[in-house]
Amino acid sequence: MNSTNMLLAAPELWVMVMACVILIVDLYLGEERRGIIHMLAILTLVFAAIITLRADYAADGVREAFAFNGSYIRDTMGDVLKLFSFLILAIVYTYAKFCLRQFRMFRADFYTLSLFALLGVMLLISANSLVMIYLGLELISLSSYALVAFDRDSRLGSEAAIKYFVLGSMASGMLLYGMSMIYGATGTMDLGQVAQAVRSVGSDDPLLVFGLVFLVVGLAFKLGVVPFHMWIPDVYQGAPVVTTLFISSVPKMAAFAMAIRLLQTGLVDMQADWSQMLSILAVLSIILGNVAAIAQTNIKRMLAYSTISHMGFVLMGLLPGTAMGYGAGMFYVIVYSLMSAAGFGMVILLSARGVEAEKLDDFKGLNQRNSWYAAIMAMVMFSMAGVPVFVGFFAKWMVIKAALDAGLMWLAIIAVIFSVVGAFYYLRVVKLMYFDEPLTEAEIDAPVDFRAAISLNGIMMIGLGIFSSSLIAVCMASFGA
């Protein structure tokens, strides 16, 4: 464990090098040849996935390996989450190219910043010490702040970026404060050693509990769950839709991994404490997210509130502290990222000539304009609402089952009731698309790679639903369930 086994971190090194290469290559490219940047970015993701898949580190049947003196960990959960990050980021790039071209913002900064954010995501997923968790998180956050302000002439965008920056910095401060308390009580930053120290100090040590509260607050800020959710709707609405697409999908998986590393690896003996805190956060998020989304007329804002409720479900998977629950949470967060990417992809598709289609009314009569796109959006909405057969249903089902197995009947009941409430606003979009007259007859056209990506993304909603058992099995196996 005390070796600097650098080759384990090959995917991270590759992504970092390629982000720098893209940064430099862009200097020599004119406006008309920017497409090369896009190709390079996609290539980076493909090779990152290959490098991740080729890693052979399983020893004695334990798929777990450490590098950099234990501050970096490779395990199945990390690898699966990373592979899905690459897939989703590739989808995001395909959507983004079309959108950035339309909005005349096709600059390489989007690619470099989001690749650095991906590096942060990967490092956070693989973090095994408190320092690495903080640094990975900051790398994601800093890149995201800049991406939110990416449209420099948009007042809403700048406002959203400032809000995001101030609240995000405060959350980082809270997290650091909590970490310093944990460090003070255990005397180590390595998460494995923290767990041992907690066992010997005793999990009822007030200093540990105090630190845990701050850790959970920081975590809740980053996940965006009630009552630390204020920034989500404003940032999602104010940011350019490409950025919203990005920050609502890939970093969520990192936030989930962070919760697992901190709570399951580090503070597993304090499960009784954090389980209570998470259950309050989960219940409030599910209630508020679903109720507030009903009142929205802006689809970006609506999806933002829906994110809040989805994150509540993810927490619900975490809080029983069982392997089944962790696996369910992981499955949920992957599925959510795919759904969110498809949802915002549709918003991009309908945005024409530099005007974002962010009103719900823009979806009116979509079926008459193009029935295939309407079908994709309908599949996404059904999946988010948790209608059976679609993948969102299985995600919700697994999470609720995990809660029931842990004897949290009341939590399961609340979750089910508010999923039904939530179904209202998802189905309203379907109703707008199929039963209302379109406001415009304008043709919807997109390049072929965009159409392929959104079709694939939409088909995943039902395909992953029908063949959900294999992905669920992978998620469960990550936690040995």
């Binding site: 600097t4 971190a9 970092m16 720098c20 940064l23 590098a67 950099f68 003196n69 501050s71 970096y72 600059r107 900064d109 470099t112 910043l113 650095f116 590096l119 490092l123 010490s129 320092v131 690495m132 640094l135 990975g136 900051e138 790398l139 800093l142 890149s143 702040y145 800049a146 302000a149 990416f150 420099r152 040590d205 007030p206 200093l207 105090f210």
Partner: protein, 204 residues
């Protein structure tokens, strides 16, 4: 009272006073100077802990570079302080409530279980004479914390990229020099030879 305690309490008090000053002083320039004072006292306390490297870095980087830059910005921007104070009274009760809660929790922590009682932590043994704090920090940074150190570097790189991406603008009417263009200049672009008829000298 041993001398190190006197030094510790003196600098701690100055540091607290400086920190309070940062958030209460009206003039932003004074606030920045109060922050400098806070940093100085913190670095003195670090010195007391035999962490010379950190103490000097704090002064060189924070006081020398960051705060001076900060002062420049504060002085160059004509900040009107009055609107910043708006809503101060309105949000004061909530702020006080949160602050009081946090303070109460901290006090409970400090008094519980004797963790922070005098003598709970014995004085560490003084380092040998040839011990170099700087060397020790360097060794740890490049062995145990190598990954963290490198990632911190990446974060700084991202900060640079973000700053450039958000502020660099090519204005249409800007007068920018393009050195490579200047070097590649052709004779024809600068000198124009005009053929004209020879004119007879006047007045001869």
């Amino acid at each position: 009272m041993p001398i190190y305690e006197i030094v510790f309490y003196a600098f701690s008090l100055v540091m607290l006073a400086g920190a309070v000053g940062v958030i209460t002083v009206r003039n932003p320039v004074y606030a920045a100077l109060c922050l400098v004072l806070t940093f100085f006292s913190a670095s003195a306390i670090w010195m007391l802990l035999e962490a010379e490297f950190l103490a000097i870095i704090l002064i060189v980087v924070y006081v020398g570079a960051v705060m001076v830059l900060f002062l420049f910005v504060v002085m160059m921007l004509d900040i009107n302080v009055a609107p910043l104070k708006e809503g101060f009274i309105r949000y004061l009760p909530v702020g006080i409530l949160v602050a009081a809660l946090m303070a109460a929790e901290l006090l409970v922590l400090i008094w519980s279980k004797g963790r922070f009682e005098a003598g709970a932590y014995p004085l560490p043994a003084p380092n040998p004479e040839e011990y170099s704090n700087t060397k020790a920090v360097g060794e740890w940074l490049f062995t145990n914390y190598l990954l963290a150190f490198e990632v911190a570097g990446v974060i700084l790189l991202v900060a640079i990229i973000a700053a450039v991406a958000l502020t660099l603008r090519h204005r249409a009417g800007g007068h920018r020099q393009n050195p490579s263009h200047q070097v590649r200049v052709e004779r024809d672009e600068r000198v124009r030879l005009v053929k004209m008829k020879p004119e007879p000298r006047q007045g001869s």
